[in-house]
């Protein structure tokens, strides 16, 4: 069951020369995802940094076919594509093994403009994997707030820090009771790889969300993408779990945190190197705010631990 780095195939969807920023979490994640999915795959993308990274026509940094469709289209285009392939294979007009269809979509395309279509695809149980690389903002258009932007984070449209909390789309998806879903982190590549392999083996709708620290968006050093990913998990700010038809399993290190067997690192450890929290960390009520964030983390860990018992 457990995968080792050396077991991962050489295949890489992200070719050298990608236009992504240094340290881009989407590129790192896609490399791991590609290794798990293999070459017989089709990717659907909506406007985002992952699309901007492709480079300009006629070049492409992705080595598999990509449909670059419109912003709200992920769920329906993923669903239409996979169902069309089913029809064509069943009628014998395409031969061989049906490719894996997956969408590679930001938090803007998942939490906000595309949520309706993705929810519908989940409800219909369309046979594809929806990936959300969640960088907690509209990075491509210059880091505006999204529904995934956390409380207090400064973006170009929340210059004083976001006044409301992010929404919890993974929980929404959990209650769609889809065949398989998972959250993942770049700091735990073997866990991500395993989850993608699992998703590939299951028929129906799969959802995988990867927390994607964005160096220019969150304002941290480009070398620290993986380090921040790790601190997000260790502080309980990002939880690792998976679920089959709504049956939830917490994954380590989140499970140990939820069971109280290990303690989360102080959330300040996670926030302090992110420029988007500079205002919060200089605020006179900083301690109060941090305590509230940690209380919220504890609430969520307790909630998930109890939810996992259902």
């Amino acid at each position: 069951m457990s995968v080792k780095i050396k077991d991962m195939p050489d295949i890489d969807y992200v070719l050298p020369g990608s236009a992504a920023c240094a340290g881009c979490p989407s590129a790192i994640a896609l490399r791991i995802v590609g290794k798990a999915l293999g070459e017989n795959a089709i990717m659907v993308m909506t406007p985002s940094c992952a699309v901007a990274s492709i480079g300009l026509l006629p070049k492409s940094c992705y080595s598999i076919p990509v449909l670059n469709i419109c912003f709200a289209s992920a769920g329906a285009s993923g669903g239409g594509l996979t169902l069309a392939l089913d029809a064509l294979y069943e009628k014998g007009r395409l031969q061989g093994e049906k490719p894996t269809v997956f969408t590679w979509i930001g938090d803007g395309g998942t939490y906000d403009i595309g949520l309706q279509g993705i929810s519908a695809a989940a409800e219909r149980n369309d046979d594809f994997i929806h990936f959300c690389y969640n960088n907690e903002a509209y990075s491509n258009t210059g880091v505006q707030r999204s529904g995934a932007t956390p409380l207090h984070a400064v973006t170009t449209t929340t210059p004083l820090g976001k006044e409301v909390a992010r929404k919890n789309v993974p929980l929404l998806m959990l209650e769609h009771r889809i065949p398989y879903m998972a959250t993942a982190s770049l700091a735990y590549p073997l866990d991500l790889y395993r989850k993608v392999e699992k998703a590939k083996s299951v028929k129906g709708f799969k959802y995988i969300e990867i927390l994607s620290p964005c160096s220019p968006g969150w304002k941290f050093a480009a070398s620290d993408t993986v380090e921040l990913s790790k601190r997000a998990v260790k502080s309980g700010s990002w939880l690792l779990w998976e679920a089959e038809y709504g049956k939830l399993t917490l994954n380590n290190p989140t499970r140990l945190l939820a069971e109280g067997k290990t303690q989360p690192i102080p959330v300040e450890e996670y926030l302090k190197d992110q420029g988007r929290y500079a205002r919060l960390l200089k605020h006179p009520q900083k301690e109060e705010y941090l305590a509230a964030i940690e209380a919220e983390i504890r609430r969520e860990l307790t909630f998930m631990a109890d939810r996992a018992k259902l």
């Binding site: 017989n40 901007a52 492409s60 076919p65 670059n68 239409g80 594509l81 169902l83 069309a84 009628k91």
Partner: protein, 375 residues
């Protein structure tokens, strides 16, 4: 061939079945609903070997069929009014992406205010999306146009919208003839595009394109949609040879002999216009009916060819081209005739919005008013 009595929506669904589409995606809206319902039933009952995707909006409909068409599937959808407007972004995508798609648009007024009945504002509002737009005037023509639309879209890689009037055509029973399946199969072989969105073909679709490479894509669409007129006519002739069915080329002309006054319109009102022409002829007016079958590409050259020097053109628009003071057909016709050296007098009126009744006597009265303006 079998003659049956049924509605326009039934004729549409039967044609989609005969075209052996691979996938249908649709979202309900009056008066389109029974097309989607019939297709869902055909598929569920195994009468049709296709997949049905019950999406949650029209934006999603167009996103789904576009992706399916990129993979090389023959798809179908139908909508009306607000549904068509809701697709707008993806209508552009589909045409820009040169995807072969067929959609029925059951024409209905758009809001505000809400109205369930026919006019052509929905289709006219999508004029510049790069879609071919056909307009049918009878149940038989709906059936035949859907089949023709597949032939055309798969030959020229431009999506085709088949328009027909809500309720007046969608829900009225009229006799029509169903074409034998072998004949349709011969006319319309399985869709096999040169490229598919698939690892066996490779390549990517719709990438970000620099300024020096972007214009050729858009300009070739602009050039090719103009050529679509010939392709529509050629295939309509071929279809006529196989089935005997003929509804006209780009225009369907009624009583052209010795005509000097031409009454231009589209959709079901053009059928009523034939009665108006008869009345005018009886009164000694040398009138003819010009029913536009292809709104996009607008058959400008054909219009010039049809109208003799000194002709008067009366345009009956069931839509507004806001800001021009008239409807889209009048603007289009005037632009088409601008280069004529001889004098052709043109005028027009907007009428029949939101299903306003247009009986022949009323059309005659409007024609007289327009002839008065041109004096």
């Amino acid at each position: 061939m079998k003659r049956i009595l049924d509605t326009g929506n039934a004729a549409c669904a039967l044609a989609v079945k005969a075209a052996k589409v691979d996938m249908v995606a649709a979202y309900p809206i009056t008066p389109q609903t029974s097309v989607a319902e019939k297709l869902a039933a055909y598929i569920a009952e195994g009468e049709m070997d296709a997949k049905y995707l019950p999406v949650e909006s029209e934006h999603s409909v167009m996103s789904a069929v576009s992706a399916a068409a990129a993979a090389g599937a023959r798809t179908f959808t139908a909508t009306s009014s607000q549904g068509l407007l809701y697709m707008h972004e993806i209508l552009h995508y589909a045409a820009g992406g040169r995807l072969s798609l067929v959609m029925a648009n059951v024409n209905r007024a758009i809001c505000a205010p809400w109205c369930l009945y026919v006019d052509h504002q929905d289709a006219v509002s999508q004029r510049d999306t790069g879609w071919i737009q056909l307009f049918a005037a009878t149940t038989q023509e709906i059936y035949d146009s859907v089949i023709l639309a597949y032939k055309v879209t798969e030959e020229i890689n431009i999506p085709v919208m088949v328009n027909y009037d809500g309720f007046l055509l969608s829900h009225s029973m009229m006799p029509f003839e169903i074409v034998d399946q072998e004949i349709i199969d011969g006319f319309l072989p399985p869709f096999s595009p040169a490229w598919r969105l698939h690892p066996q073909w490779g390549g990517t679709f719709g990438n970000v394109t620099p300024s020096d490479q972007y214009p050729p894509y858009r300009n070739s669409l602009a050039a090719d949609i103009v050529k679509a007129g010939e392709i529509i006519e050629k295939n309509a002739r071929e279809y006529q040879r196989l089935t005997g069915h003929w509804h006209g080329g780009l225009f369907d002309i009624y009583r052209p002999e010795g005509a000097e006054v031409f009454l231009l319109s589209m959709g079901s009102m053009a059928a009523e216009m034939e009665l108006a022409v008869d009345i005018l002829r009886e009164e000694g007016v040398p009138a003819a009916g010009l029913r536009l079958r292809v709104f996009r590409p607008f058959p400008a050259r054909e219009l010039c060819r049809i109208l003799p020097g000194g002709a008067r053109l009366l345009v009956f628009d069931r839509n507004h081209a806001f800001g021009t003071g008239s409807g889209a057909l009048l603007s289009e016709a005037k632009a088409a005739l601008f280069d004529r050296k001889d004098v052709i007098k043109v005028t027009g009126q907007v009428m029949g919005l939101g299903g306003e009744d247009l009986p022949a006597a009323y059309l005659v009265q409007k024609a007289r008013e327009m002839m008065g303006v041109l004096k």
